[in-house]
């Protein structure tokens, strides 16, 4: 439905009574509104009909020729624009045309170049897509392998834990067996006093022939003089003389190790030697094992 105001605008527009800016705005509305365009067309028909009320008048006969000549002239002018003439003004259209041709050529080149680029990008995109697919397939395979490896690792870990447990159990058993073996091979020796003044003096020795070391526990052994030291000896048939196991403090338990490897500890003896000990027994034997 077209309002009266729009009808008024349309009437004024048809008769050329709108201001130029109003006419342009209204023309824009007409261009997008078919109903309005129909109204304008109807109003134009009504307005143009007014001209039909006028009596016809024949124009001067020469006018037809003048119009034909002007049309021909306009056509010639149009052709002349395309024909080069000397003079700066005549070259301007050619210069513009040349510039346009250069622009068109540049644009064509750019277009061609861009097309090549687009084609190459598309081709590369396809290639990359193929590579991506391949990588994705490989990745999928690796993931599967990784999952399998993790699963296997879990199995291995469980097995390893079980084996570690077994190892620990065996180690404990071995330890027990070794302890039993150590105890079985340790030789316990009791050294009795040969001193008439101190018959209650004694010493107990635990000797491990495998480890080649032992523990000496003196009992009621009187302190030695300041210029003397008690010295322990191991009598081994393999040696012509007793093997020294070092000097010791009679008031303390002492660990000892013989000076030479002992094949068989036949007897243990303790003597009083000069301070610092001797390489071979020289002082009196005070304690002797069985």
């Amino acid at each position: 439905m077209i309002s009266e105001q729009t009808e008024e605008q349309a009437s004024l527009y048809v008769l050329g009574l709108l201001a130029p800016e109003e006419a342009i705005a209204f023309q824009a509305e007409v261009a997008i509104d078919s109903q309005l365009a129909d109204l304008v067309a109807a109003l134009e028909t009504g307005a143009a009909a007014l001209a039909a009320t006028l009596p016809p008048r024949n124009p001067p006969p020469a006018l037809r020729g003048h119009i034909a000549a002007r049309i021909k002239q306009s056509e010639t002018d149009l052709v002349n624009v395309l024909v080069p003439f000397p003079g700066v003004s005549q070259w301007i259209p050619w210069a513009i045309a040349a510039c346009l041709m250069v622009v068109v050529a540049c644009l064509s080149y750019d277009r061609y170049h861009i097309k090549l680029l687009v084609d190459s990008f598309l081709e590369r995109d396809l290639r990359l897509q193929g590579q991506l697919d391949h990588v994705q397939r490989v990745d999928l395979g690796l993931n599967i392998q990784l999952d399998n490896a993790i699963a296997q690792l879990n199995v291995d870990s469980q097995q390893r834990t079980a084996m570690q447990d077994q190892y620990d159990a065996l180690h404990r058993q071995l330890g027990d067996l070794q302890n039993r073996d150590t105890l079985s091979r340790i030789k316990i020796a009791t050294l009795a006093s040969l001193l008439k003044n101190d018959p209650q003096a004694m010493a107990v020795i635990a000797w491990d022939p495998t480890a080649q070391r032992g523990i000496l526990q003196p009992v009621n052994l009187p302190a030695a003089q300041t210029t003397q030291d008690y010295q322990l000896w191991i009598i081994d048939p393999a040696y012509p003389a007793p093997v020294s196991a070092g000097v010791f403090d009679p008031a303390k338990r002492a660990n000892f190790q013989p000076l030479h490897p002992i094949t068989k500890a036949g007897k243990f003896a303790i003597s009083l030697e000069k301070k610092g000990g001797s390489s071979a027994p020289q002082g009196p034997i005070v304690l002797l094992s069985d």
Partner: protein, 191 residues
């Protein structure tokens, strides 16, 4: 203008199409057919034979160059031509009047005068058309008829038309709107 443009393709439309294709013979035929009515219109507006000749040349050059812009769905070829030549003449008139700073000529003129009824050069079709329009004009109120014809032929502005008719601007606009709508409605299907 003899038939509705949407229902039949009149010969003038065919000629216009040929002119759009650069057919000089078709243009010559159109000139023969149109120039009397268009020259009459221009002379009515300009009242200066020499200027009317210039306007006619200008109008036909426009037809030659712009024939392709004619839309048979929107108007008849005659309506299209009338509006082109009328506007060319009004432009010239306004330009001239701006130069002379006056429109006394228009003031002394009768807004609407019926054309002479008997013209030996008038074709039967043109005569029927004129009679139909005259009849339609007589059917609308006098004030509307005056406003419409003054607006169409004089080249005056809205304000000048209102001054000339001694009526408020809004009233004049309303008269123009009603008169033009009634004229278009009355002539619908008759031209």
């Amino acid at each position: 203008m003899t038939e509705s443009p949407a229902t039949q393709d009149p010969p003038e439309a065919a000629l216009l199409r040929r002119v759009a294709g650069g057919d000089a013979l078709a243009f010559d035929q159109l000139y023969t057919r149109w120039s009397p009515m268009l020259y009459g219109l221009i002379c009515k507006i300009l009242e200066d034979p020499r200027e009317a000749e210039d306007a006619l040349q200008e109008g036909f050059l426009h037809v030659w160059h712009k024939a392709a812009s004619y839309d048979s769905q929107r108007s008849s070829p005659t309506t299209w031509a009338y509006m082109i030549f009328r506007n060319k003449a009004i432009d010239r008139l306004r330009s001239r009047e701006r130069r002379s700073r006056g429109m006394e000529r228009i003031a002394a003129e009768e807004p609407f005068q019926a054309a002479p009824s008997a013209d030996p050069d008038e074709t039967a079709v043109a005569r029927e058309r004129r009679q139909a329009v005259e009849s339609a004009l007589q059917s609308i109120p006098q004030d509307q008829r005056e406003a419409v014809t003054l607006a169409f032929f004089s080249g005056l502005t809205q304000t000048e038309i209102a001054e000339r008719l001694g009526a408020p601007l809004g009233t004049v606009k309303a008269r123009i709107r009603r008169g033009l709508l009634k004229l278009a409605g009355t002539l619908k299907g008759k031209l």
